[in-house]
């Protein structure tokens, strides 16, 4: 399909969302740096947001009446706001961890292992 001349559909936006989500998950799974894991979380949330916005846009799909409309935008806004809170708390935890262990390598956090 030639993307330069034909209109994109909802599925294309969903593909972008899926790629963002998957890279975020891979990032969370493979990074040992705690800040890197936080970044993975941001990517995952953005992938989800991408889907919300795509589903909220009526012009992107053949069955227009079923789009989320304003609700999708609203949920995306809440996700963005909560992501900010999550980043602040997550970063505070990371800093606290750093003060105590002098590293941000999450593999070092093993005091609670039995």
């Amino acid at each position: 399909m030639n993307l330069l001349f034909e209109p994109v559909g909802l599925a294309h936006y969903l593909v972008v969302g899926a790629i963002l989500f998957v890279t975020g998950v891979v990032c969370m799974a493979t990074k040992r740096n705690a800040v890197g894991i936080l970044m993975g979380i941001e990517l995952v949330l953005n992938g989800a947001n991408m889907n919300f916005i795509a589903f909220a846009t009526p012009g992107l799909r053949a069955d227009e009446g079923l789009s989320l409309g304003l609700d999708g935008h609203m949920v995306a806004l809440f996700v963005i706001v909560l992501a900010a809170a999550e980043a602040a708390v997550g970063l505070a935890i990371v800093l606290s961890f750093y003060y105590n262990h002098l590293t941000v390598d999450v593999d070092e956090a093993e005091e609670l292992k039995g």
């Binding site: 034909e6 909802l10 989500f21 799974a29 800040v35 941001e42 990517l43 846009t57 809440f78 602040a88």
Partner: protein, 214 residues
């Protein structure tokens, strides 16, 4: 020559940017570079939001996410990344596991995305592509206040009762933010780093420095 569809063109540009930088975040080992790639990726995502007609959400993404959250993350990177700590390499086995997990997830998600025929392409050219003025800020604001100006022509009273705005979630989120703010400030308040704490002064600061008797 067929007319170029600008919506698709810009979609392609922003999609390639956001996905490319997202992949770069995942594969990079240098935490500072990761932060830069993440900024680029999220900025491109906000471009996609603008493209999809969500101008307010796009601006919000730029302001809160890119301008606020990521500055915070960059701040965290600068506070914690010193010399050798910039790079914490990931083992090969973890990469294989991560790639397998990611690949499986991607296959499932892509299958879901392309499974519905109606999602493949729009019936008409999207309004956004025709350069119409978007106005989502005011309806969104009214929605936050509990008035759904976009649903006023909904005749079904049951449905209208179900979409009575977002005043309560808005309040909950604001209280949540306040709690998060106070909690973060409490957690991150300046304590003396462990390597400066004299052993034997007791209390909270008496944690063993790195490389204790593990």
């Amino acid at each position: 020559m067929e007319a170029i569809n600008w919506h698709s063109c810009f979609f392609l540009l922003f999609a390639i940017l956001s996905c490319g930088f997202a992949v770069a975040v995942a594969v990079s080992d240098n935490i500072v570079r990761m932060a830069v790639y993440l900024i680029a990726s999220l900025a491109a995502v906000s471009g996609l939001f603008f493209l999809a007609g969500a101008d307010f959400v796009g601006a919000m993404q730029l302001m809160i996410y890119v301008g606020g959250t990521l500055v915070l993350l960059a701040f965290g990177v600068m506070l914690t990344a010193r010399g050798p700590l910039v790079k914490i390499a990931t083992g090969g086995g973890q990469w294989v596991l991560g790639a397998m997990l990611g690949g499986g997830l991607l296959v499932i998600l892509l299958q879901a995305a392309f499974s519905v025929e109606a999602w493949q392409r729009p019936e008409v050219t999207p309004e956004v592509a025709q350069g119409e003025d978007l106005a989502t800020a005011a309806p969104l604001g009214m929605g936050m206040m509990g008035i759904r100006v976009d649903q006023l022509d909904e005749t079904d009273t049951v449905k209208r009762g179900g979409m009575s705005g977002y005043l309560l979630p808005f309040e909950i989120v604001s209280v949540h933010l306040l709690v998060a703010l106070i909690g973060a400030a409490y957690l991150a308040r300046a304590r003396r780093p462990a390597h400066l704490v004299q052993s034997g002064d007791g209390g909270k600061g008496d944690r063993r420095p790195e490389g204790g008797d593990r």
